[in-house]
Every structure is written in C-alpha cells, then in structure tokens.
C-alpha cells in the first residue's frame, strides 16, 4: 500500500492557543480513516487545514506525492482531494443535478470564449461532465430527485447532495466533516453503506471527522484520536476501544455514552 496523504508535524495556533500540535499520520490509498475526539480537540481545525480552508502554522501536508501545504481549497480539489461540510451545504436555489453539475465543472478545462462559441472540444468536455453527473447521481441514489430544488429537500437528502457535489470533482480522497450529524439511525446506517461503496466499488479513500461512534467503529480501518490538539492514539477499532489512554480521555468507562 502506498501513502496517499501524509501529514507531518501539522500545527495551528490561534493567538496563544495551540488548537493542533504536532499532528502526524498517513492515510494509504484505499483506506477509510476516522478522526475522533471530544469537542474542542482540534478535529475541525485539522480538517480545515488539510482541505486548504485554513493555512497551517507549522508542518507539511503531502497529497499524492505533492506538497499542498497552504494551497486554497479550489486548487487542492483539482489534485483529487475534495471535502464536504458539517452542516448541509448545497446551492439552495439550484436543482439537485445542477448542484452536482457545478461540482463536476472543476475538470471542464475549456476557456469561456470556447464555451460561448461551443467548439468541438467544449462539446466533448460537456459530454464527459454529463457522464460524471449521471454516475454520481446513480452512486448516491439521488437520481430520482435530480429535478428537485436542493433547498427544499429534507436535511438527510441535503447532506447526501453535499457528498455528491464532492464526488463530482472526481476525488481520490474525500474528507467528510461529521457526515452523520443530524441524521436519524436509519439514515446513518444508509450513509455508512454509501461510504463503504465509495471505497469498495470506486476506489475512493475516505477521511472523516465524526462523533457517531457506531459509524466510526463500523466503517474505519484506522482511527486517530485527538485530545487537546494532540494525537493520543492511533489504531484499529478494537485497539482504540481497549486503549487505556483513550478510555480515560474520551470514551469513558462506558463507551455507549457517546454512541
């Protein structure tokens, strides 16, 4: 297995507060990795640094052999590293398929004058974009809703659209910010199945920040535990469950408290 994402000594200070300190880990091609920890542990900060939304104060982020430290999200996503948002983030006034279409434009690569002139290169690029849109709608099960206006759909569907927009950018690694937050148990289980499909059938690696223990333990091969900005443990679900440091700092004696 080759490393797809390598984090080396990543750190972020907000004034005097060190939100993340010396965080290092690797994510291999085809892995599902979970980043967990109590509130304020620095999970979201780490997440935002990897996706490019926040510039790190220290450290390096290497993705697919290239140093992407400090690049903007719109540049990072072209390398194949996409993200979703914690709340349901969609283009509310556009239809479901227009939402996905806007994500798929990232690889169109045709200048605006050629788009207006409708050159042959533009038309073949459009067909590729269209195929990607159809594929993503199919994978995420949104095809029946493609003509619905995104802002008028239920929360669970909007979260799914958020993932679909990310998938439309053809990522090799998808970062998910609390994908289960706000979902009912049924939707949550369905989401878990979707995540497995993305990896097993489409070869997309996943890194997610999550509070929902059942989802994390059930889907992740590798779990990283952050407490107060520092990594205190890393391992499989079983190793994490029985790690004394994690039990003391986060899970508590009864892990169901967080499930």
């Amino acid at each position: 297995m080759t490393a797809l994402l390598t984090i080396e000594g990543l750190g972020k200070n907000f004034g005097g507060l060190a939100a993340v300190r010396d965080l290092s880990f690797t994510l291999n091609e085809g892995e599902i990795v979970g980043l967990i920890g109590p509130n304020g542990a620095g999970k979201s900060t780490a997440f935002n640094m990897i996706s490019g939304a926040l510039p790190p104060s220290a450290g390096r982020i290497v993705f697919a052999g290239e140093d992407i430290t400090g690049r903007k999200p719109s540049q990072v996503v072209r390398h194949g590293l996409a993200r979703t948002f914690q709340s349901a983030t969609v283009y509310p006034k556009a239809t479901v398929q227009e939402n996905v279409y806007r994500g798929a434009l990232c690889h169109l690569g045709v200048p605006v004058w050629a788009q207006i002139a409708q050159t042959a290169a533009y038309q073949s690029a459009c067909r590729r974009v269209q195929e990607q849109v159809d594929l993503v709608l199919e994978i995420t099960g949104l095809a029946p809703l493609r003509h619905e206006v995104a802002g008028e759909l239920a929360y669970g569907h909007q979260k799914r659209i958020g993932v679909a927009v990310g998938l439309a950018t053809r990522p090799r690694l998808l970062l998910l910010d609390e994908p289960a937050a706000g979902l009912n148990p049924e939707e949550c289980a369905e989401f878990g199945r979707l995540l497995k499909t993305l990896r097993d059938a489409h070869g997309i690696s996943l890194l997610f920040v999550e509070h929902h223990m059942a989802l994390v333990m059930g889907t992740c091969e590798k779990i990283i535990v952050l407490v107060q900005g520092q990594k205190i443990a890393q391992g499989t679900a079983d190793e994490i469950r029985h790690s004394p440091a994690v039990i003391e700092a986060y899970l508590g004696a009864d892990e169901d408290a967080h499930a």
Binding site: S51, A53, K72, P73, S74, Q75, V77, R78, A82, R83, F85, T89, V90, Y91, P92, K93, A94, T95, Q97, E98, V100, Y101, R102, G103, A104, L105, C106, H107, L108, V110, V112, Q115, I116, Q118, Q123, C126, V129, Q130, V133, D134, R146, H147, G162, V165, G166, A168, T169
Partner: protein, 329 residues
C-alpha cells in the same frame, strides 16, 4: 431560472445543447427594439428609447457582478471612465469613434482589474463601502482634473458618433447603434449564463464556500465578473457621451450608481430579463417627474423598500410566482 428548459431535457444538467432554446428569444427581442421606430415622429420618445438602451447595457454590467454575490457602488465611475476616456480620445487625439469606444472599454477594464485585485477579497457590506468610496474618489479626480477633464464644467462639443462613415447626428440614427449595443449585450449575457462559466458565477453567488471547495475559485470568478461588468459600464459611458455630446463629473456621481442598483433590484436580480425590465420602467420616470425633482428620490427610496419587502426577486419574480401557482415547473 431555467427550470422549464431542464425539465424538457431530463438527462441534461442545464448547459445549453448546441442551438438550445435561448435562440427563441431573439425574435422577441428584435420586436421589442423595433417598437420605438413606430414612435419615431416624436423626438422625445426616441430620446427616451436611446437612454433606455444605454441603461440596459449599463445595468447588464451590474447584474453580471451581482450574480457573483458582490454589489458594486461604483458602477457609475466605470461608466464615467469609459465616457471620459472615449471623449478625450475623440476630441484631443481625433481617433475614429470605434477606436475611442475601444479605448474607453479598455481603460474601464484595466482600472477594474487593478481595483479588483485589491478589493475583491472583501465581502458583503465592506465591498459596498469601498466601492462607494472609490466612486466618490473618481468624481473628485474628475473635478480636480483641470483642463484635462474640464473640471466641474466637463467637456462639451463632442462630435457625434460615426459608423462606417455615417455620422449618427440625429436621435433616430443613434437609436440604431444604441439598440444594436443593447441587443448585443443581452445576447452576450444569455449566452454566458448558459455556459459552465455562467453557472460558476451563480455558484459563487449562491454559496461561496461550497464553490471554493469544489474547485470554483471565488476570487478569480468574481474578478471575471467585475471585469466584464465594468467593461460593459465603460461601453455604456462611451455611447452616452457621444450621444449627449457633453460629459461632466456629475453625470457619473453616486446617484447614477444608485439608479443602476434600483433598476437591477426592481427589474430582478438573477435573471437576464431583470435589467431590461428595470431600465425600461425606471429610465422614463425621472423625465416624467421633472417637476417633482425634490420628491423623486424619496419615491425611489420607498419603491426600493417596497420591492425588497414584497418582491425580493424583483418584477421578474412575479412571473416565477405565477408559474408556480399554476403548478407548472
């Protein structure tokens, strides 16, 4: 906006198929622009028609910028830049009309690029404030420009526009140029908003964070819109100057920027029809209410508040609402 067209083509996510339905618009537009010719006997109506056409170009520029979520309060400054550059070229350098207009557009775009590089990182009300200041600064520069800009007196005796050797020295002859310009700017906008680039403008306006995260750079997209919109304003300014034969700093004050915003909001943002409706309705009003010049601005203010309260999508929104009530998509 184009719900209807996407419903007809179930597997397409909205980009225009080649030769798509927008071409159906062209005859309707041509008919609209031919209408004033029936009133050609009355020079006042022709005058209004010319001003409406120039305002359509002007407000179209503002609407492109607003589609990316930015509200420019210095749109009149870019109109003034186009106007003064073109006039200075025509009167001092004696360049042909086309060259003067190109120079006017070029200077507007260049200044928009320099300004945009600095201020487009600002969002919302901060962008509004800085553009407001820039508009005021531009007016002061014109006032202090001495003999170069004519100071408070401006520049008069501008020779009329000429196209292919024909001097457009009557209102009616200029109307053809103004109508062709307005028509071209409308077709450009319709075509642009059917392309992926147009969808990217809307994406940045609808949800900048999501756009940035899915590969649509906020700043580069807003810069594109700012350049195009300011270029259209400069073009409108160059036309206006050669039509009126006179420019002064007051022709491009904040009132004119505000008027453009009112036209856009009342007509409707987020639609190509909005600026046309806005210019069509709001251009004649000051001419009709010349006697009530004191109360005019109060009326505009009230209208703006009422429209924002009850018709947030502008007059275009009425059509969308009616269609929705009928149950058609």
């Amino acid at each position: 906006m184009d719900n209807a067209s996407t419903m007809n083509r179930p597997s397409s996510a909205a980009p225009a198929a080649p030769g798509g339905p927008w071409r159906a618009w062209i005859p309707a537009l041509l008919a609209l622009f031919a209408l004033p010719l029936l009133l050609a006997g009355n020079p006042f109506y022709v005058h209004l028609a010319v001003l409406i056409c120039i305002n359509i170009v002007f407000v179209n520029g503002l609407s492109v910028i607003s589609r990316t979520g930015q509200l420019s309060f210095c749109h009149a400054a870019f109109m003034g830049m186009g106007a003064f550059t073109a006039v200075i070229c025509t009167t001092r350098l004696h360049t042909p009309f086309f060259v003067s207009v190109l120079a006017g557009v070029g200077v507007s775009v260049l200044v928009a690029w320099l300004l945009g590089a600095v201020i487009l990182r600002l969002q919302g009300v901060y962008f509004v404030l800085v553009t407001f200041c820039f508009g005021e600064l531009f007016r002061l520069v014109l006032l202090e420009g001495g003999s170069f800009t004519g100071g408070a007196n401006g520049i008069a005796n501008i020779p009329p526009a000429s196209v292919f050797g024909f001097a457009l020295d009557t209102k009616l002859s200029f109307y053809f140029l103004a109508a062709a310009s307005a028509f071209a700017s409308i077709v450009l906008l319709i075509a642009l908003f059917k392309t992926p680039r147009g969808h990217e403008l809307d994406a940045v306006g609808d949800n900048p964070d999501l756009a940035e995260a899915s590969g649509i750079g906020i700043q580069s997209t807003q810069m594109f819109a700012f350049l195009l919109g300011s270029g259209l304003a400069g073009f409108a300014g160059a036309l206006l100057a050669h039509y009126l034969g006179f420019v002064s700093p007051e022709s491009f004050s904040q009132h004119v920027s505000v008027a453009a915003i009112i036209m856009l909001v009342i007509g409707g943002r987020g639609s190509v029809v909005g600026p046309i409706l806005g210019a069509l309705i709001m251009t004649p009003l000051p001419e009709l209410f010349r006697s009530a010049i004191e109360t005019q601005n109060i009326l505009y203010g009230i209208t703006l508040i009422l429209v924002l309260k009850f018709l947030p999508m502008g007059l275009v929104g009425i059509g969308a609402r009616l269609r929705r009530k009928k149950g058609t998509p």
